[in-house]
């Protein structure tokens, strides 16, 4: 199994322009899938690094409309790259969910919403389906078999496997053996499984390589971005192609 790295950029962090140039850098490093975060004031599933980045990004007053305009040239130049939006539910609801999802579907292949679990699918999933913007389910090692089955039935672009009980960028989250949950997912779903949360080193990547289709790296990339370690980012994004 070939495992790709799916890097993360937060729109508006540290500025809108710099987040866009980071996305272009990912593409030049060989990224085929990119996760783009849209900032939220109270990201409850995120750790320290992403919280701070969200706060800073919000100072630049990002809007979803602006993001779409800014992303359009990247999509035009690199139509083959799959972009996934990651944000919380409230920014999606604020401008009218139907209108927002409709416009997002023009540039994004899928969307990750940490506070939209199975229980809330009944209220909102049909809107995303109508606009062909798949909602990526987040499955944890402790997710029950029946929930996994339901998530798998609804999954389209990929499944996001949360590798730890914890928040993004965690150093304290409980590490879990992923084999049992991977087996359960594979029973019901044949598409890509991409793992994330708390993956930061080449060793982490090596450990997961071959067991999942992709690895999302977010907090670590933001940390490297803040330090200007772009060579390091490049190395993280492309190692598995070598």
């Amino acid at each position: 199994m070939k495992t790709i790295v799916m890097p993360y950029a937060l729109y508006g962090y540290p500025t809108k322009m710099e987040s866009l140039s980071l996305i272009r850098r990912f593409i030049h490093s060989g990224a085929t899938r990119i996760e783009i975060g849209f900032p939220f004031s109270d990201p409850v599933a995120d750790g320290e690094t992403l919280q701070k980045a969200n706060q800073l990004a919000l100072k630049n007053h990002p809007t979803i409309q602006e993001l779409l305009v800014d992303i359009s040239s990247i999509k035009r130049d690199h139509p083959q790259v799959k972009l996934t939006l990651m944000t919380y539910l409230n920014p999606i609801l604020a401008g009218g969910i139907d209108k927002t999802v409709g416009s997002l579907s023009t540039h994004f292949s899928s969307i990750v919403i940490p506070d939209l679990p199975l229980e809330a699918y009944e209220s909102y999933l049909s809107i995303f389906k109508e606009h062909s913007l798949p909602v990526v389910p987040l499955i944890t090692p402790d997710t029950s078999e029946s929930r996994i089955k339901e998530y798998c039935e609804q999954a389209d672009d990929f499944i996001y496997l949360v590798t730890v009980n914890g928040i993004t960028g965690t150093t304290t989250g409980t590490k879990k053996d992923l084999q049992p949950v991977l087996k359960k997912i594979r029973t019901h779903y044949q598409g890509p499984i991409i793992a994330g949360f708390g993956i930061k080193s080449k060793k982490d990547i090596a450990n997961l390589s071959g067991t999942v289709d992709g690895i999302i790296i977010a907090s670590e990339i933001l940390r490297l971005q803040a330090n200007g370690d772009f060579k390091e980012i490049e190395a993280l994004v492309s190692p598995l192609r070598k």
Binding site: G95, P117, D142
Partner: protein, 391 residues
């Protein structure tokens, strides 16, 4: 009225997947506990011997005389720990114990819910961690010392606006990171299902007692029941017994802070917009991009941008009338209550009193007001910031 954790369109479970299992366990344990005579008996004993219930329904004679009405205070300020919060904290702590979890976590604004949880933890021999916004720690230093004295670890949250919403976010993150080893004791009628219902039920003792006391003390139901509202736990607690009594007007009083025309208030129902936050669909103070606004209130306990889903529903069906009062009106109501009745109300509760003072009622109108807590915790802040107005 309610199905699957929803009140009309409000409520629900909008939480990270990690909490799906723990929430299911909480709900299962709660449903079983509420049918278990032993659990209910323990709770009953706690009410009587630990909290000091029932709390009196006190006739505020001097204010009544001055206003030409009959004003009664439901004296939750006389609960052990000084506020209504203990009713819910002891219930949830017992639930956690029953589930075999011995670490309680809680968020707190004014500190009352933190103290109540730390108190329940001490009584039941449990570990307790309280998350409190850094600004609130400064406002309520005395309460921080009390929590520490009770054996709790107080985590200062220096994020966002450093107040209640940020403490709640941080407590949720901690729960996501320790989903099976700790129990999140949510202090208000907010959060993912089953919390709003659970908090309402643990607080419904206020309404049950008040209704009975009305009938015993003046032979009829009141014309109106009034309570202050942040997240809405004391209000839903007292309203719950009167919702079916359509002759009784119900009024919730929000924090208008420095005025609704400014950005410095926490009047969620009065000027919020529907959204999803902290696990629930509710009215929210948010900007046009769905970012949660920073709120302001003189009272740390009302300084929250959301409000319980049941309140949102009761507003929509027009069963409860939601109003707001400013910090300035609150300080005046606080001073007046202290001088007229010899009772120092919490600044939160003083919001409800301020609404009464500025309203006009027919002669002989009967009001039951939930005096949700005592104001000792607010004295340092008042003497520091409003000395001339209160002395």
């Amino acid at each position: 009225m309610k199905s699957n954790g929803y009140y009309g369109e409000y409520g629900g479970k909008f939480m990270p997947e990690t909490l799906a299992g723990p929430l299911e366990n909480v709900e299962k344990a709660y449903r079983q506990a509420m049918k278990d005579p032993d659990f209910l008996e323990d709770l009953n004993k706690d009410h009587k011997f630990f909290i000091g219930r029932e709390t009196p329904l006190y006739y505020a004679q001097n204010l009544s005389q001055e206003l030409g009405i009959h004003l009664y205070f439901k004296r939750e300020d006389l609960c052990h720990t000084g506020a209504h919060k203990i009713n819910n904290a002891i219930g949830q702590a017992r639930l956690a114990k029953r589930m075999g979890i011995d670490h309680l976590i809680a968020e707190t604004g004014a500190g009352q819910h933190g103290i109540a949880t730390a108190t329940a933890a001490a009584k039941l021999g449990m570990k307790c961690t309280v998350f409190m916004g850094f600004s609130d720690i400064k406002r309520q230093a005395h309460n921080v010392d009390r929590m520490r004295m009770l054996g709790a670890t107080v985590i200062a949250v220096e994020k966002g606006s450093n107040v209640l919403k940020d403490a709640t976010s941080e407590a949720l993150r901690y729960w996501v990171s320790h989903p099976t080893s700790c129990f999140y004791v949510i202090g208000s009628a907010i959060g993912p299902a089953p919390y709003p219902e659970m908090v309402r039920n643990f607080q419904s003792i206020i309404g049950t007692e008040a209704r009975k006391q009305c009938l015993n003390q003046f032979g009829t139901l009141p014309d109106e029941v009034i309570a202050c509202i942040g997240g809405g736990s004391n209000a839903i607690g007292i309203f719950s017994a009167f919702i079916e009594d359509t002759s009784v007007k119900l009024t919730g009083v929000e924090a208008a802070g420095k005025g609704l025309h400014t950005d410095f208030h926490a009047a969620t129902i009065t000027s919020g917009k529907v959204g999803v936050f902290h696990g629930s669909k509710m009215y929210l103070l948010q900007d046009e991009n769905g970012q949660i606004k920073e709120t302001h209130s003189i009272s740390a306990g009302l300084d929250y941008p959301g409000v319980g889903p049941e309140h949102c529903y009761l507003n929509d069906i027009k069963r409860v009338d939601y109003r707001s009062v400013t910090d300035k009106e609150v300080i005046e109501a606080f001073r007046k209550t202290v001088r007229s009745e010899g009772i120092i109300p919490a600044l939160e509760s003083a919001h409800a009193i301020a609404h009464v003072l500025k309203s006009t009622y027919p002669k002989g109108y009967t009001i039951v007001l939930n005096l949700s807590g005592r104001g000792d915790k607010d004295l340092d802040q008042l003497l520091r910031e409003h000395k001339e107005e209160v002395l």
